[in-house]
């Protein structure tokens, strides 16, 4: 809490040339400092401990598998900055993915049209979450637990749990292709991240998201259209989940009903590791994606190191705990100094 850290505000009154130490402290107090250091440590450790880590191919598989959770993380981070949480993002991703498959294969629609429809569906699911939460004044956590059941159930009803095969290969580029030497899903992630970061930092809408997360009542009092923005954010989260879902379908070449099952807790953990507070108002989508990178690397090296499958869960959980502890300790250490 900021009240614990009473940096005297005399800096304002008499600005002076910052010396190196002051500069360093300014850098250290940046909310991204902890996560960047943690990332660097993990990266360097991985390079040293496994010769298979820093190879072009391994970087490619990390980047590609990261892209999907990364996209979901962007949406979840926006919601968390707003002070909300959506536990149905995974289910939306899965539903949108299989719906995309149904459009393409069973309805025989054009793949690109199907893609648009599938994104629209995901956005619609997010919109529905947002509408229910704002209009009926519901807790986002439980509403989205319930809606995860509904969307996941719709997925099951549509597919009976059976993957839809025969996805047209002209969209498989989206999931498997390379662009500028990078996997396409990763390029899409970067693109989305740039756009979202721009919106969050430079546009009124983005600033309002921070404002609402920081003080909902004050935002309302000032005439900011709080509910409209919350609905937008839920829709955006739905959109990003659907995007991740359909890219996964393009990558697999089949629409698996199980897509998205692992996209619920990891993005939340990633966002918090990356400095997004669950209470709202703090952090950035960029930090959140860095958090996702950390988790992605951990998942990769655990296998590279040949850690016994029985130990993997302990190790990855332990590293998550270590990463946030490190971040917290670093923050405290530098704040004491500052």
């Amino acid at each position: 809490m900021s009240h614990e850290t009473p940096a005297p505000h005399d800096g304002a009154a008499r600005p002076h040339q910052p010396d190196i130490m002051t500069r360093f402290k300014a850098v250290a107090s940046n909310p991204l400092f902890g996560v960047v250091i943690a990332l660097a440590v993990i990266f360097i450790l991985s390079c040293t401990l496994s010769s298979n880590f820093l190879t072009a191919f391994n970087m490619k598989i990390i980047a590609r598998s990261l892209a999907f959770v990364g996209l979901v993380t962007i949406g979840q981070a926006i919601l968390m900055i707003l002070g909300e949480l959506d536990l149905s993002v995974g289910a939306i991703g899965g539903l949108a993915g299989v719906a995309g498959g149904i459009f393409m294969v069973q309805a025989g629609l054009d793949p690109w049209l199907s893609l648009v429809l599938c994104l629209a569906l995901g956005t619609g699911c997010g919109l529905l979450n947002g509408l229910l939460i704002t209009k009926l004044k519901l807790h986002s956590l439980v509403l989205t637990i319930g809606m995860a059941g509904v969307y996941g159930g719709a997925n099951l009803v549509l597919t009976k749990g059976v993957a839809i095969t025969g996805i047209p290969s002209n969209i498989s580029f989206l999931g498997r292709g390379m662009l500028f030497g990078l996997p396409v899903p990763f390029v899409i992630l970067l693109l989305c991240l740039v756009i979202v970061s721009f919106v969050m930092i430079r546009t009124p809408l983005g600033r309002y998201v921070y404002a609402i997360g920081s003080n909902n009542a004050a935002a309302r009092m000032l005439g900011i259209r709080v509910d409209a923005i919350r609905i937008c954010a839920f829709s955006a989260a739905g959109f990003f989940s659907a995007l991740a879902g359909i890219l996964m379908v393009a990558r697999l070449g089949t629409a698996q009903p199980s897509i998205g099952d692992t996209w619920v807790l990891a993005p939340i953990a990633a966002a918090v590791i990356g400095g997004v507070a669950t209470t709202g108002g703090l952090g950035s989508p960029f930090g959140a994606v860095l958090g996702a990178v950390i988790i992605g690397i951990i998942e990769n090296v655990i296998v590279l190191f040949g850690i016994s499958p029985y130990w993997q869960s302990i190790v990855s959980g332990g590293i998550v705990v270590a990463a946030i502890s490190f971040d917290s300790l670093a923050r405290r250490y530098f704040n004491r100094e500052a």
Binding site: T55, L156, A163, Q256, V303, P309
Partner: protein, 286 residues
């Protein structure tokens, strides 16, 4: 006595494999209804997750509706036992498929042997790589007894061949995405890997995807499990060599026949073995 008969079929979880078993069960019910003139229905009730206590809850709820028989795919015969005892107390006869009944309970078991399935898959892979080289095993859900049994039997096969070395084991927790991530990383860490076997239905699909993405089709062999349509697609595409598949329709079918006989008070066999298929590109094209 011509009153309608009602059976409840409870698989391990909601999963396409069990739908196939259900199809077989419905076929048997239709046949019996037609040939006996007595309406025979099979209700299908699946737990949402493969968890013993969730399954027990479903079994108990089914007991509450007093059916003429229960057809169960047990997640864990010891963990299900006390709930099955309640069915015995309520005088509801039971038949199990795809699993073994608890010790000491006189119940017909329909299905194939998981160990045999794993053994067949591992033997086939061993032959494909000429009984030498590095192999990896994707272990499925570590807490699922049937996955664990397949893994044990597969490892036993590889241990028989001195030139085969199991260099890595992964877990996919029944998620294709996780299977794919783990398989990619394992192939990265072990560039000389020759082949893969899996222990569940999601694993081989994820491994196949990873082989395709790593451009290792033909270089890394895979023998999968079961006959889900994406498994079949991978075999058709030549990514995966073959799959060791049990026969879900047949298991459902014979489970209903046995349950029906039991409901009529007849003696039923201890075991009905439905056998295992090896599915290859050539059997598929037939």
């Amino acid at each position: 006595d011509n009153a309608p008969m009602r059976f409840v079929m409870i698989p391990k979880a909601v999963h396409p494999w069990f739908d196939k078993a259900n199809n077989g069960a419905q076929a048997a019910a239709a046949l019996l209804s037609k040939s006996t003139g007595r309406t025979i229905t099979v209700e299908y009730r699946a737990p949402q997750t493969a968890d013993v206590s969730t399954q027990n809850d479903i079994i108990e709820r089914a007991i509450a509706t007093h059916p003429d028989g229960l057809i169960l795919d047990l997640l864990d015969e010891k963990g299900n036992r006390s709930t099955m005892q309640e069915a015995v107390d309520e005088k509801i006869p039971m038949t199990v498929f795809d699993s073994l009944p608890p010790e000491g309970m006189d119940i017909t078991a329909v299905g194939a042997d998981f160990c045999e399935q794993g053994t067949l898959a591992a033997e086939r892979l061993a032959r494909l790589i000429n009984h030498k080289g590095e192999v990896a095993v994707m272990m499925g859900v570590p807490t699922a007894p049937n996955h664990a049994l397949r893994a044990r039997c597969e490892l036993k096969v590889f241990a028989k061949y001195p030139d085969i070395k199991v260099v890595a084991t992964g877990i996919d927790n029944d998620s294709i995405e996780t299977a794919q991530k783990q398989a990619s990383a394992i192939m990265q860490a072990h560039p000389n890997l020759e082949g893969w076997v899996a222990c569940d239905a999601a694993g081989p699909v994820g491994i196949g995807q990873a082989i395709r993405e790593s451009d290792k089709i033909g270089k890394v062999q895979e023998v999968g499990l079961d006959n889900l349509n994406d498994m079949l697609q991978l075999i058709k595409d030549g990514v995966v060599d073959s799959s060791a598949s049990s026969r879900p329709e047949m298991q459902g079918y014979w489970a209903v026949i046995a349950a029906w006989q039991k409901a009529l008070g007849q003696q039923t066999p201890k075991n009905i073995d439905t056998g295992i298929d090896i599915i290859t590109k050539s059997t598929l094209s037939k």
